[in-house]
Symmetry: C2
Subunit: 99 residues, 2 copies
C-alpha cells in the first residue's frame, strides 16, 4: 500500500470530477463505462482521473474480462484524513499511526 503522502493525498482530492467519481464508487464496484455514463466527461478523462486515484491508493481495482471495476477505498480515506489532521496538531508528525 502506497505510504501516506499528505500532499499527494490532498492533490488527489483537489478536483471536482475526481470527488464525483469517488462518491459514485463509494461502497460499490463500478466499471469505467458505468462511471462515464454518470458524468459529463469523456472515457479517457475518467480513466485519467482513476489512475490518479489509484496512484494515491484511494480506489481498489478489480479486473473482470473486458471490464475494470473500481471501488472507493474507504478505510484508506479514513486513515488518511486522520493522518492529515494529526499532521496539523500539537507537535506535528509525532503521532501514533493507525494500522
Amino acid at each position: 500500500m502506497a505510504q501516506f503522502d499528505p500532499v499527494l493525498f490532498a492533490k488527489a482530492l483537489a478536483d471536482e470530477t475526481r470527488q464525483k467519481i469517488m462518491k459514485l464508487c463509494c461502497c460499490k464496484w463500478l466499471s469505467v463505462s458505468a462511471i462515464v455514463e454518470q458524468l459529463s466527461v469523456t472515457q479517457p478523462t475518467v480513466s485519467h482521473h482513476l489512475s490518479i486515484l489509484r496512484e494515491a491508493g484511494l480506489v481498489e481495482v478489480r479486473e473482470d474480462g473486458k471490464q475494470t471495476f473500481y471501488k472507493l477505498n474507504q478505510k484508506r480515506i479514513t486513515v488518511c484524513c486522520g493522518q492529515l489532521q494529526a499532521n496539523f496538531t500539537s507537535e506535528n508528525g509525532l503521532v501514533e499511526t493507525v494500522s
Copy 2:
C-alpha cells in the same frame, strides 16, 4: 465562517509550501516575516499562500501595528477532515454536521 467546500478545502492543502506554512503556524501566532524566514520562498509568495489559506478558512488572522499574525485554525481543520470523510461514507452528504 466560509462554509465547507470539499474541493476548495483539498485545493488549499494541495501544495507543499502551504502545508509547511500550516505546520509552522500550528498552535502559535506567527508574523509573515517569521514564516518567510523559515521557508525558501519570497515574502510575496508566502503572502499569496496565506491568502489562499485565509480564503479556505484554515488560518486565523490578527493585525498588530505593521505586522500581521497568522495561526492555524485547528478546529476548522478537524471539522473539515470529518466532513470530507463523511462525504465518502455510505449515503454521502446526508450526515449531521458539527457546529
